[in-house]
């Protein structure tokens, strides 16, 4: 599978339908790379003409801004917007809710106005349009799954249904955790917490959330954010060696169903 960059599209004098914003986690983190590859595979199979920025992509600045470093954020935003506007990007899809939130809500005030869409919404649209065709042997059918809401997708941007609709399209049994949707408990990674030790307390936040996920006794945990994925995987691993509930991104689940 060939993944083209914007520079390559430009050289051919073409414009892609959509830019896939991979994000730092999706580019560098080994676990998140699998999500990136799964989503790229889906785009490829669904015949979507997409491009990535490749080496020209840089951190959106989200963790710096939330930690309080507005200078760093503005520097990154300036560079990214220069590149995005230079390529005349209209539509962006991203697998990271943090990149999604920043690109969608925070770049417009700085001169970067794009139609930004999260990959769960994009997948839901592809399924509805019949562009994603599942194989006949749907191995997900009847399997139970609990979906962990990402704060930056859920409360921050009120996207609760798209990821659930995608799972339901595979005839999976959706089991909700005690706290879900607008009441969903954070995984503990947001607000730049991913990049520091947790403050002292009685319990780690990801352990608390992992307990709620384990309580559903679902076969799988679904996530839609690379950071939630890491936190939930670690939380479940630390909690109970016997419980081997796998944490999978919505894109990975779909990718497996079309292969």
């Amino acid at each position: 599978m060939k993944v083209s960059t914007m520079a390559e599209f430009m050289a051919r004098g073409e414009q892609p339908e959509v830019l896939f914003w991979v994000g730092c986690a999706g580019s560098f983190d080994q676990r998140a790379q699998k999500i990136t590859k799964a989503f790229a595979t889906i785009l490829d199979k669904a015949g979507v003409r997409y491009a990535i920025l490749g080496k020209e992509e840089a951190c959106t600045g989200d963790p710096a801004r939330r930690a309080g470093n507005e200078f760093m954020f503005q520097m990154m935003a300036y560079q990214n917007i220069q590149i995005l506007n230079g390529y005349e990007i209209k539509k962006i899809v991203t697998t990271c809710p943090h990149c999604f939130n920043t690109l969608k809500n925070e770049y417009p005030a700085l001169g970067g106005v794009y139609d930004v869409i999260h990959h769960t919404t994009f997948l839901q649209e592809l399924i509805e349009q019949g562009k994603i065709k599942f194989t006949d042997s749907n191995e997900w059918k009847g399997k139970s799954i609990t979906y962990h809401d990402s704060c930056y997708l859920g409360r921050a941007n009120e996207i609760y249904e798209a990821p659930r609709k995608v799972l339901e399209s595979l005839d999976m049994e959706l089991r909700e955790m005690k706290r879900c949707k607008s009441k969903g408990l954070c995984c503990g990674a947001g607000g730049a917490q991913m990049f520091k030790e947790e403050e002292k307390g009685d319990k780690r936040i990801n352990t608390e959330r992992a307990d709620e996920a384990i309580e559903t006794k679902a076969d799988f945990v679904a996530s839609a954010c690379p950071f939630c994925n890491t936190m939930m995987t670690d939380g479940i691993k630390n909690r109970d060696a016997e419980v081997k509930t796998e944490v999978l991104d919505i894109a990975e689940i779909i990718a497996k169903a079309i292969q």
């Binding site: 005030a109 409360r155 947001g190």
Partner: protein, 424 residues
């Protein structure tokens, strides 16, 4: 005698309203210490928020039972206060049930409604009191409320119970009355002479109205101020997606001028203070939030940091902001304008450890029934910490330099950003 009573009543009423007005103006002055932000866009959306969140108490219904009890107290409070009009007219003119002749049979119906509501309010307040003191619900026994805030909450509930009882006793002691609820209290007063009954009725009437005035003047000092401020707070609630942080135009421009020096104006103004160190660096909406907070603790219950034992409590962020604002207000009253007192909201009232625990998950903002944003204050204080004091944990400093040098929060080579494509 009657004339003296009428005069006295008039004087007390005037004093009560004067004092109340004075305190409200002081609160208004304190709120306006905050920085100017314009929140007048999209008036139709804002009025919708007032209707749904303030009048409709939409968010309260995330917990239907409590919402129902609260609705009773709220409706009861508003409707029974209509009866206050008559009580005040009676007090000033010396009349007895001044509205009865005008309303005819309707009068009985209306008072019956008031009495039913009064009884329901009384029951709801008793339930609320037991939730706090007998069932001891977690968010009410939190250390956030130690001391005055806990007494404040109980004082309000007890006052409500007393006021409602007085209203019912007053009606029961009126020999000519026969109302729905108070008629059941009449047997308690059986055997008393007409003059004794009249004394009870008048005493209940006086304590009731004095209690109401006391309650009114207690409001500005109490968490109960939300009965007024919930309405403007809902109107001025943020209409942005919850994930969006406020842009700092000064820094945006500074970066722009560094990148494109030809755009820099020659008379560039000195940069303002970055973020918020004290209450005057917050917006007036942040400060109104602090005065509106009812200290119910829904935010802290939902907070992932608080519920896993971290020091951060969004409710305490709001209470600390109000405490600091009150101190600054007193400072201004004493010195005509604010005189440096060596204290600030950051460090003296809200600690670094609290701020560091926030995951910016917006659970506190989502839960608040009256659209308060503790997160907004936390983020402004974090900006001050990092940009004014260079105060960040070592891991964050590492993250900043990685972003600066490698364009990612981790130390990877930017050349490997698309390495995954070769395995795809």
């Amino acid at each position: 005698m009657a004339l003296i009573a009428e005069l006295l009543f008039g004087l007390i009423s005037a004093a009560a309203f004067f004092l109340f007005g004075k305190n409200l103006l002081a609160i208004r002055r304190n709120i306006l210490i905050g920085k100017e932000v314009s929140l007048n866009d999209h008036p139709s959306k804002r009025w919708k928020n007032v209707l749904l969140l303030a009048f409709g108490q939409k968010k309260m219904f995330r917990n239907p039972l409590v919402a129902f009890l609260h609705l009773i107290v709220y409706v009861g409070f508003i409707i029974i206060n209509i009866e206050l009009l008559e009580i005040i007219v009676d007090g000033i003119t010396g009349s007895h049930r001044a509205f009865a002749p005008f309303l005819g049979t309707c009068y009985g119906f209306i008072i019956n409604c008031f009495e039913i509501l009064a009884a329901l309010v009384l029951i709801a307040c008793v339930i609320f009191f037991s939730r706090r003191n007998i069932i001891r619900i977690k968010r009410f026994i939190s250390k956030d409320l130690n001391g005055w805030p806990r007494s404040d909450a109980n004082a309000i509930l007890i006052t409500e119970v007393v006021l409602m009882s007085l209203f019912l006793i007053m009606n029961a002691a009126d020999p000519e009355s026969n109302f729905l609820v108070s008629s059941y209290l009449k047997p308690l007063l059986k055997g008393l002479s007409e003059s004794q009954l009249s004394l009870i009725e008048h005493t209940a009437w006086w304590i009731h109205i004095l209690g109401i005035y006391a309650f009114m003047n207690y409001l500005p000092y109490s968490k109960h101020l939300h009965i007024i401020l919930a309405f403007p707070n809902a109107y001025y609630a943020s209409l942005l997606p919850k994930g969006e942080m406020h842009n700092m135009v000064s820094i945006q421009n500074e970066v722009l001028y560094a990148m494109q020096p030809e755009l820099a104006p020659t008379d560039a103004a000195a940069p303002e203070k970055f973020g918020a160190k004290d209450v005057m660096d917050l917006s007036w909406k942040n400060l109104m939030d602090a005065y509106s907070c009812t200290e119910c603790g829904r935010c802290s219950t939902a907070c992932p940091a608080n519920s896993t034992g971290k020091l951060l409590s969004p409710r305490k962020i709001m209470m600390s902001t109000r405490d600091r604002l009150e101190a600054v207000g007193k400072n201004i009253e004493k010195n005509k304008s604010y005189v440096e007192d060596g204290k600030s909201l950051l460090h003296d009232y809200i600690s670094v450890e609290e701020l560091r625990a926030c995951t910016t998950c917006n659970a506190c903002v989502e839960e608040c029934p009256i659209s308060i944003s503790p997160l907004d204050i936390i983020l402004e204080l974090r900006r001050s910490l990092v940009m004014e004091e260079s105060n960040a944990p070592a891991e964050w400093n590492g993250m900043f330099s990685n972003i600066e040098n490698n364009f990612a929060p981790w130390k990877f080579s930017p050349d490997d950003r698309d390495a995954w494509t070769s395995q795809a």
